[in-house]
Amino acid sequence: MSALVEVKGLAKVFDVSAPWLNRVIERQPRQFVHAVDNVSFSIQRGQTFALVGESGCGKSTVARLLVGLHEATRGQVLFDQVELTAALKGPQGTALRQRMQMIFQDPYASLNPRWRVSDIVAEPLREHRILTDDTEVNDLVAQLLQGVGLSASDAARFPHQFSGGQRQRISIARALASQPEFLVCDEPTSALDVSVQAQVLNLMKDLQQARGLTYLFISHNLAVVQHVADDVGVMYLGRLVEVAPKRTVFSAPRHPYTQMLLDAIPDVRMTGRQRSPVIGEVPNPMNPPAGCAFHPRCPHARAVCKAERPELVVDGDSQVACHAVQQGWL
């Protein structure tokens, strides 16, 4: 089995400095946010890799880096063994873009309200000049809509005539139009109700089996991740703290942050459960703590955690970035 997507030491730094005049008058220095820092993982063909973490941990930035919506500051993304940033600018760029598509979180914001569904779904076909003949385009649009559980007659309607779940189906139909191999799904179900979420998740699984799709699935909902993922990466303040196959992450989480996250999810089965809630909050990414970024909230932190930043080290079938795990006091 080969990796379709390989990410090596990926980093993205955003310049969030105040405007030039303020910097001069108020003598403020330039400020940077390390949104993504030294992130490496690979996604096998036909599999789902899930990234989880709380808001602001950099998971959406990783998604955007992977489809070329942001340019990486350091590191590289290999897509089918080709370096992505250079290739997207090169002569093969459009051909490469066809092979990857993205599904966004908010189906109300990601569909143009003034376009008919037929134009929305046909946009990738026309943009990439896959089909130019109108009847062929219309036939394919009808097929795509039926493939995601809508009817062919929906093509003539506008997005506002659909419910949230139906809109997300339209986004999926659009993403599938150029026959991609790789889909980046950034919180595809978090704006949906549970019964609709179940419909969309089932649809995504069916499509994966039918078309051999590879997914990068981003979510903050661990129960959903557990349902869809093969491998899971846990992010905290721009870094991966644990990468492991799904069953390892959920049955034997190694990193204290993963353990905390798993413990924090309200569980439907745990009626009236008493538990000690996690202390503290995610620190400001503009000014992350020294050493391990998690140490101020970590119950196992020792002096070394405050001084040295732990690297991601292979340990059994998982990779963990934690001094406590690596030096064996946890």
Binding site: S195, H220, T271
Partner: protein, 327 residues
Amino acid sequence: MAALLEVDRLRVEFPTRHGKLLALDDVSFHIDAGEILGVVGESGAGKSLTGAAIIGLLEPPGRVAGGEIRLEGERIDNLTEAQWRHVRGRRIGAIFQDPLTSLNPLYTVGQQLVETIVTHLPLSAAEARVRAVDLLRKTGIPAPEARVDQYPHQFSGGMRQRVVIALALAAEPRLIVADEPTTALDVSIQAQIIALLRQLAKEQGTAVMLVTHDMGVIAETCDRVAVMYAGRVVEIGPVQQVLHAPAHPYTQGLMGAIPVMGESRDRLLQIDGSMPRLNAMPDGCAFHPRCDRATEHCRQARPALLRAGPTSAACWLLRDAQAEVAA
């Protein structure tokens, strides 16, 4: 003893050009002192509207068209705006989803707390400030003496929601209506806020109506739960019973649709279709177009809430099952 809050056959309608839309129909439930009632349902089911009706904040042209809401035995659904001022904040506190929009960005947290306290309680400004600091401490805000003079933007999301809870508790209300209080927060913060809400409700004997779409939150926080669908309560009962042995097909479908931790299923249970719109409500049971056990009777007549052991559910299947047992 009468319940602290009684909602009796509440109807809320929105008059429009195309006729009246019935947004809430025959909604009845009660909450006892110190009890947390969860209200769940999909978006548009009418859960937030029920909360808004109870605190007298229905957006016009929405209005209460029938039924009664009673707080400690007194009707509150027909109060004037002037009368509401003595009820809202004093006897009923409210917590909303987005903590940033429920706080005024131009005043410090302390000023907002003191304003609320002085309005409702016979305290001087200095006493109110002491109480404000005390409330912030109770809601788990570190260094409350310093934080009380800060502005909302200086607080993080979780801390802001704590301030909103402190505001809701300021006048020691008997009832708190919390509309999706944790939806805008991260899971680790959500757990802290839920624990806080539950602890305060138990300590002060405050009744809480918790509106949320998150079944996990309901399971961990509430004593009883009401499931809403298309403007009606379809099932109500103790949390254990409703979540683990649901009687209504909609609740059963909802529970099956939730991915559960530690449980590996290939597919999630799927309720096909979506909730009907208010202007296209089907005859009979509103759930029948999506229910795979619907009969001819379900298509024609609307079921009322029927007792089924410790819970009640609005479903004809239940009546048929009971008739069989009786026969």
